[in-house]
């Protein structure tokens, strides 16, 4: 009940927000309630115990009283029976058949029947007239009871004639002479019932006793006989002495129990002076109980008083129970109280946490927004700074000044790239970065990236190589820009930290790698560390970099995740032989702005944000990134990325080999290192050239000379082989030139850097790595004299080529040289270029609907500059659109040509300025491939 009340009180407050003060009050009142409850319980229980004790006493007392009465009655009945016996055998028979001897023997023998009587005596009624005769007959005189002298003359006498042996001294005594006895006798013969005397001290034993007297009548009297009739009919009196004390004592012994009871028996005939018959005045419990005793004499009243000997014990049971209950209840209350406090505390904490979380999230968003805004805002003035620096370079400076400016410019460029990275990071964090889905050629993209790094790798003398597995489709759908960013990032890191050896990028389909692992396991070749790497330097075991990938753990033994045939899961790994990442730094390598150490950033620059961005980008491509790095040996970064296979729906889309003019040619590669040979084979196969690999020159020679029927068109020789033995090399040259059938094969040497070029190595042509299909094709073409067919741009499968290929582009520039250079650059990427030399001409060409896909326009031109021309063109477009609005749903691009500013003057060339003037962007004038790609890709989606 109270729980319910309490609960209602708590939950009644609604939102569970009871203040702890209120709860505390409830708790205290609960304690008070418990105390009161405990006290009440204690009182109730002790009362109960008391009552029970009383009842026990009452029942005990009544029991004792009844038993005393019963015993007494038994004795009394027997005495009554004796009176009948005497009447029958003494008075009704003449001569009497009972004399003293008989009587005493009889009573002696039947004493067990009357356990309470210490003696029985019979006195006859003798009238004074009969005294003499009686005295004569008996042979003694009637004596007075008190004086023991012969009795004085009386009306009648009642001398004892028979007595039990125990009281034989009362024979011949006149019972009427004793005051008590007389009264007793008179009453007995009047009432005809047993009559008791008041208790008195017995003569011999000096114990308290009573005498029971029965009258013996001559004849049977009716029950309603008058006292006179009874007196007349009286013959004699039978008396029995009851030893009350021993009676009660025996009884109590029989009933002795653990709870000693003090019993007192009183004769209360005289109410004011009760006569004690049994017991002492031992003090006991205050409470006593009185049972009335009925000994058959209506005139005499007897009572039995019972008390417990001991005081009532302290009610320990009640006390313990109550204290226990109290403690339990208080504890229970406390548990509720504590729990409630806890709940309240937890809720408060939770609210606080929620609030803090909100704040933190808000702060995070604010941070990202801040970064995005600030980065964006910094770029604008930075362009100004860079532009001014550029202009400063153009002024007359001495060598030191030029050095300063160059440094400043370099730093500025680094800053801009950093800002771009931060912007990317902020976008990713704000979740605003979305991947586009466009078609792209992975292999061409990689060639493109490779050319970006070729200069650096050549300068350092590092071997740079890319291998893409055959299983990877020609064309994929995904975000080429972001994919490129990841690879550029990883390769940039690698090249930064690698001084010797190689950087090797491999791309496989995940299934393929899993399968190869299975095979290796079967062959017991799990330890791949002893395989020879690309440059012969030891490398970190790339497998460990993808150990934790989900993609691998999900796959069954045979790589059966072809759940969606259109999805291609690529695994890309970038392996280098650089200085590696220190073990202590490996854990935080993907954390933004975390670099290995301050010295590293000082030495190599960079923000340390690249890997973090890469990780996010990989995440967006549903992939994973991992790495393994051994200090002093190298690092391998591996990531997976999910793309859609475009070959199924766009069958054979742009998948013609870059240079089919090499189709069917044969090449011989002399390279002892299988990994390196694989890379070379990959690129040659892309050109459609079949290639055979041998490991040294003599083997190569025998191949050329033996295979008579199969013409080898070219021989590619690894520099390592060539330099090993110059005699052998020159011999090889001679032998090949003398191959009798057909044209002798062309010889090519594959070298890593320009540095080795100066050495005299005979006549073979030199191909500087990194190998790329386009570059390879160009070199081969030059050497083999293969003419390109119908002026098609050969081998330029750069991704810019994809973007610009077949596009019609207008170039507007007043400077003929500049125009030609720009046109040459765009033509190189496959664009269809038209040149005009002034703004006016441009306007005449750019009349909507447009024929051109884009326009590159010089800003500074005489007569009409780029901005003005653009303004005019935009006006024309607006008019055209409003005229054609009704019913004309045409491609928007027909009515809105992208115009890119083309300028060397970076000051004017802020993006914002260009956009304000109606242009879509700008490119700096000596074209930079990266920038051109970035700008153009915003309009053209391949």
């Amino acid at each position: 009940m109270w729980v319910k009340w309490w609960w209602e009180k708590i939950s009644g407050n609604g939102s569970m927000k009871v203040k702890s003060g209120c709860v505390r009050r409830v708790f205290y009142s609960w304690i008070v309630f418990c105390t009161v409850g405990g006290l009440y319980g204690f009182w109730h229980m002790s009362l109960n115990a008391c009552e029970q004790r009383k009842e026990t006493l009452i029942s005990m007392c009544d029991e004792r009283a009844r038993m005393v009465q019963d015993q007494f009655n038994v004795s009394m009945n027997h005495i009554q029976a004796m009176s009948i016996l005497i009447k029958t055998f003494h008075h009704n028979m003449n001569p009497s058949s009972i004399d003293q001897t008989t009587f005493s023997r009889y009573t002696e023998r039947t004493a067990f029947e009357r356990p309470l009587t210490s003696g029985v005596a019979y006195a006859v009624r003798v009238l004074h007239s009969e005294r003499e005769q009686f005295e004569r007959q008996q042979g003694w005189t009637i004596k007075n009871m008190d004086t023991l002298h012969p009795s004085p003359v009386q009306d009648e006498y009642a001398p004892v004639i028979f007595a039990q042996d125990t009281i034989s001294h009362v024979i011949s005594l006149d019972v009427l002479s004793g005051k008590e006895d007389r009264e007793n006798v008179l009453r007995a013969r009047e009432s005809g019932k047993g009559v008791l005397t008041a208790p008195f001290r017995l003569l011999k034993t000096n114990r308290l006793g009573v005498i029971l007297t029965f009258a013996v009548y001559k004849r049977s009297l009716p029950s309603n006989a008058t006292p006179d009739q009874r007196i007349q009919a009286t013959d004699g009196y039978l008396g029995g002495v009851f030893d009350v004390e021993s009676l009660v004592e025996k009884l109590l012994q029989q009933l002795a129990s653990e709870q000693a009871v003090i019993v007192n028996v009183y004769d209360t005939t005289n109410n004011t002076h009760p006569i004690i018959m049994y017991g002492s005045n031992v003090s006991g419990d205050s409470f006593s109980y009185v049972s009335t005793l009925n000994f058959g004499d209506p005139l005499r009243k007897h009572e039995m008083h019972c008390r417990f000997k001991r005081r009532p014990p302290w009610p320990w049971l009640a006390f313990n129970t109550c204290v226990g209950g109290f403690v339990i209840c208080v504890l229970l209350g406390y548990i509720f109280y504590a729990t409630w406090n806890r709940v309240v505390k937890a809720e408060e904490d939770r609210d606080e946490m929620t609030e803090l979380k909100k704040q933190a999230e808000a702060a995070d968003i604010a941070k990202s927004q801040f970064l995005a805004t600030v980065s964006h805002e910094i770029r604008t003035p930075m362009n100004g700074v860079l532009g001014m620096l550029h202009m400063l370079m153009d002024t007359d400076l001495d060598v030191t000044q030029q050095e300063y400016v160059r440094t400043a410019q370099g730093s500025g460029k680094a800053l801009v790239s950093l800002i771009n990275e931060v912007l990317d990071q902020a976008k990713i964090e704000a979740g605003k970065l979305e991947l586009e889905a466009s078609l792209f050629d992975l292999r061409a993209l990689l060639d493109d990236v490779l050319s970006l790094f070729s200069e650096k790798s050549q300068a350092k003398g590092i071997e740079l190589a890319v291998y893409v597995s055959d299983k990877v489709p020609e064309v994929l759908i995904g975000d080429p820009g972001r994919f490129r960013q990841i690879i550029t990032n990883l390769m940039g890191n690698s090249i930064k930290f690698t001084e010797k050896g190689h950087i090797y990028v491999t791309i496989h389909v995940v299934e393929e790698v899993v399968h190869s692992i299975e095979i290796d396991k079967e062959l017991g070749m799990e330890d791949s560390s002893n395989r020879v790497s690309l440059s012969g330097f030891p490398v970190a075991d790339s497998r460990r970099s993808w150990e934790g990938f989900r993609a691998f753990s999900q796959v069954g033994p045979l790589g059966s995740f072809s759940s969606d045939a259109d999805l291609i899961n690529l695994i890309v790994s970038v392996e280098d032989t650089g200085e590696g990442i220190p073990l202590e730094a490996q854990s935080r390598i993907f954390t933004p702005f975390m670099q290995v150490g301050p010295s590293v950033s000082r030495r190599h620059g960079g923000t340390g944000i690249g890997l973090s961005i890469s990780k996010c980008l990989v995440g967006l491509m549903n992939g994973e990134i991992g790495f393994v790095s051994v200090p002093k040996i190298g690092s391998t970064f591996t990531f997976t990325a999910l793309f859609t296979n475009a070959c199924n729906n766009h069958h054979q889309h742009q998948s013609n080999p870059p240079s089919s003019e090499f189709q069917g040619m044969r090449a011989l590669l002399i390279d002892p290192r299988p990994v390196r040979a694989k890379v070379c084979r990959y690129h040659m196969q892309r050109l459609g050239i079949r290639i055979k690999v041998v490991s040294d020159l003599s083997q190569g020679l025998s191949t050329i000379t033996e295979e008579g029927n199969q013409i080898i068109n070219m021989v590619l020789i690894e520099q390592q082989v060539w330099d090993r033995d110059s005699c052998m090399s020159s011999g090889f040259v001679d032998s090949t030139s003398r191959v009798h059938h057909g044209v002798p094969p062309k010889l090519f040497i594959l070298v890593n850097s320009n540095a080795c070029l100066g050495e005299s190595i005979g006549n073979p042509r030199v191909i500087i790595k990194p190998l790329r299909a386009s570059m390879l094709a160009a070199s081969l073409q030059r050497a083999m004299g293969v003419t390109c067919r119908n002026g098609e741009v050969p081998a330029t499968s750069l991704s810019l080529g994809h973007l610009l290929g077949g596009r019609k582009i207008l170039i507007v520039d007043d400077n003929g040289v500049n125009r030609t250079v720009a046109a040459g650059a765009l033509k190189k990427y496959g664009a269809d270029v038209v040149c005009v030399s002034s703004g006016k001409e441009a306007i005449s060409k750019l009349k909507p609907p447009h024929d051109f896909d884009a326009c590159f326009m010089d800003i500074q031109m005489p007569e009409m500059d780029g901005f003005e021309a653009t303004k005019k063109i935009r006006e024309m477009e607006r008019c055209a659109r409003s005229n054609k609005r009704e019913g004309f749903v045409d491609k928007l691009s027909k009515w809105d040509v992208p115009i890119l500013a083309m300028t060397a003057d970076v000051i004017q060339a802020t993006h914002e300025e260009c956009v304000r003037r109606g242009m879509d962007g700008y490119v700096s004038k000596p074209f930079e491939a990266e920038q051109l790609y970035r700008e153009v890709s915003r309009f053209f989606h391949s």
Partner: protein
């Protein structure tokens, strides 16, 4: 065959000397990269165009500066053109003198302009001879059956 190698090496050395001495800069390299089979004579074409353009501009400049009242606006426009062209082919030294020239133009310094014109003419003839030599060597090499170093 040794001849070809030797010629190749000579060409290389010559090219690198041009870069070292500052006649050419990286832009020329980029120009060379733009040349391929579809456009085998691209560099020569562009450079020839530059020669024509530059000679025309130099004439104009000489004429303008000879006049009594010099029209500095026009002179500046011409120099700007020349600067653009020279930077497009990577003729670094010419470009640099153009910058100085424009400064003088701004200050309307006739003496400085005349001095710069002389310098430009000198630099121009220098780079012209150098480039012509380079093309000649390439032609010879090509005739001998070799190819320029591909990259």
């Amino acid at each position: 065959m040794d001849v070809v190698t030797q010629m190749q090496r000579q060409l290389l050395q010559y090219t690198s000397s041009l870069f070292k001495e500052g006649f050419l800069d990286d832009q020329f390299n980029q120009l060379q990269q733009l040349q391929d089979e579809s456009n085998p004579e691209f560099v020569v074409e562009v450079v020839t165009l530059f020669f024509e353009d530059a000679e025309r501009l130099l004439n104009e400049l000489s004429k303008s500066l000879e006049q009594e009242s010099i029209h500095f606006r026009r002179v500046d426009a011409h120099v700007h053109q020349l600067k653009g062209s020279s930077s497009s082919i990577g003729a670094q030294r010419v470009q640099r003198v153009c910058i100085a020239f424009r400064n003088f133009c701004e200050q309307q310094n006739v003496e400085g302009c005349l001095k710069s014109l002389q310098e430009i003419k000198q630099e121009y003839s220098l780079v012209k001879t150098k480039l012509e030599t380079l093309f000649k060597m390439e032609k010879q090499l090509f005739a001998a059956g070799g190819s320029s170093v591909s990259r």
